[in-house]
Amino acid sequence: MKNSVDFLFENLTKLTALFSLITLIAIMAVLFSEAFPAMQEFGFSFITDDKWAPNREIFGGYPSIVGSLLSTLIAMLIATPIAIGIAIFLSEIAPKKIKEPIGISVELLAAIPSVIYGMWGLFYFAPIIRDIFGGNGIGMLTAGIVLAIMILPFIAAITRDAMNTTPDMLKESAYALGATKWDVIKHVIIPFAQAGVIGSVILALGRAIGETMAVTFVMGNVHRVSLNLTAASTNIPTTLANEFAEAESGLHYSSLFFLAFILFTMSFMTIFIAKIYFFRKIRKNG
């Protein structure tokens, strides 16, 4: 009797452990099969074709795909240095009294839902961009900056934690040799915390690629690739959020699933690279 309950419990837990694996495989399979008609119709030129005209049944994913890469690039270029600056401030510069309250508020800000960032971007930030750079404030630049602000607390919190793990002994030895604070940060703390810093940046990249609500408000959903960053534009999540519930034809749906499949592949690759990177680091250190 005892043994059979034990057997049941063990296998029940084992079965539930498979849940995420099964959903992950199912997501891949379902997205692929739903995207298949569009893949057949357009083939690889889907990725390079820049026309998106639902009324004429022409679908090219180029504007959305480039938009995703561009908005993520802008966000990372802005967020990474500032977030590392915040982390250095929190772990090395700030006096003890303000270290904790600011550290906690940064962590709490990471918990604020992205839809709030989007709403703030639409009502408060877009007008400022409009006044400074022209255009109507809606577009790639605004979306990239709002995205950057959203991932800022995320990178800063993890980077600070990684920097805090540097042993005091190492830092004190460097100071004893006459190093300035920046010398210590550059030659002791950053090399020591490197894995954590790069890991958090890659994870934030994965977040930024797939983020929907922070960008949908301020992107504009216009399918075009433009060097003018202040013009209304789109990326994959924005296209999906705006068109999925209203798509009419089968091919339109299938093309949207194709975009979702491409987005999924991008984020999957990102986390895969992060995992390999972490794994190598851990093996090296261990």
């Binding site: 995420s20 600056g85 510069i93 800000l109 839902p113 602000i149 800022l152 940060i185 519930a245 699933f257």
Partner: protein
């Protein structure tokens, strides 16, 4: 300039940059919080809890439909997602431990956690909404539950690993079968940790919008039927905020404020729990 001078100068420049970026970043973040609080408090009133959605311009409009809908979605996802997550975490920590399979499942969970939520929305659309022929609360619940499982799994795994091995051995030495050791000893001593993880995962899915856009969709009327489209605070916020009507935008800010207050409240509660645990 001597090398020493140069080093000191570089030092000041670098530190100044770091302080400046910290001030700028934190100022932006507090600006957002301030916008949220000032607009939210302005828009808050009792009518919000008494009335449902209404066409723009109606005096008797509120968020009751969205609050109830949000509650149903979160509750449904919790009922499905939490047991699966806890049991799966139990397997990793108590049976699989350091096996290749367990590490593989941990990696898969991390991958699931960083899968874009809108992709999960399209997936649930394909497997639930399309076959049923209409948007429904069920679809939203399933999408949120899928997101919840890996979060609960990881925290359960971490919390159970913290339980001292000697406790398990002591119980096993008394002749308790393994499932009893787990349920009566391991769960009990990791109780607060697991509860905190569950609370945080609820906070996390409550803020999600993208997976609901084409699953539970939206509903401007009161509905407690899970088989129909259901309103949520987040999707309502999105629709109201992007509408051109001022009174709808006001309701959007009220929803944003309620949502954020709830989520930050849970996060602060979780912190208090964890700190109390550390003290013991």
């Amino acid at each position: 300039m001597t090398a020493k001078r140069k080093r000191i100068l570089v030092n000041y420049c670098a530190l100044a940059f770091s302080i400046l970026s910290a001030v700028a970043g934190i100022a932006f973040l507090f600006w957002i919080l301030w916008v949220l609080v000032s607009n939210g408090i302005n828009a808050l009133n009792l009518d919000i809890f008494r009335f449902d959605g209404a066409p723009p311009g109606f005096a008797e409009s509120g968020l009751r439909h969205a609050l109830v809908g949000q509650l149903m979605l979160a509750l449904g996802a919790t009922v499905i997602g939490v047991p699966i997550g806890i049991l799966a975490g139990t397997y990793l920590s108590e049976y699989g431990i350091n096996s290749k399979f367990s590490h593989f499942i941990r990696d898969i969970s991390d991958t699931m956690m960083s899968t874009p939520s809108i992709v999960i929305g399209t997936f649930v659309y394909a497997i639930v909404v399309a076959p049923m022929g209409h948007f429904s609360g069920w679809a939203g619940i399933i999408a949120l539950a899928i997101m919840m499982v890996p979060i609960v799994l990881r925290t359960t795994d971490d919390m159970l690993t913290l339980v001292p091995q000697t406790l398990r051995e002591a119980a096993a030495a008394l002749g308790a079968p393994k499932y009893k050791v787990i349920i009566q000893i391991v769960y009990r001593s990791a109780k607060i940790g697991i509860l905190t993880g569950v609370l945080l995962s609820i906070a996390r899915i409550t803020g999600e919008t993208a997976p609901l856009l084409f699953t539970s969709f939206n509903n401007n009327f009161f509905s407690s039927n899970v088989n129909e489209p259901i309103a949520s605070l987040t999707v309502t916020m999105f629709n109201y905020a992007t509408s051109p009507y001022e009174d709808w935008q006001q309701l959007g800010w009220a929803a944003a404020f309620i949502l954020t207050a709830f989520i930050l409240g849970i996060n602060i509660l979780g912190r208090v729990f964890i700190q109390r645990r550390r003290k013991h």
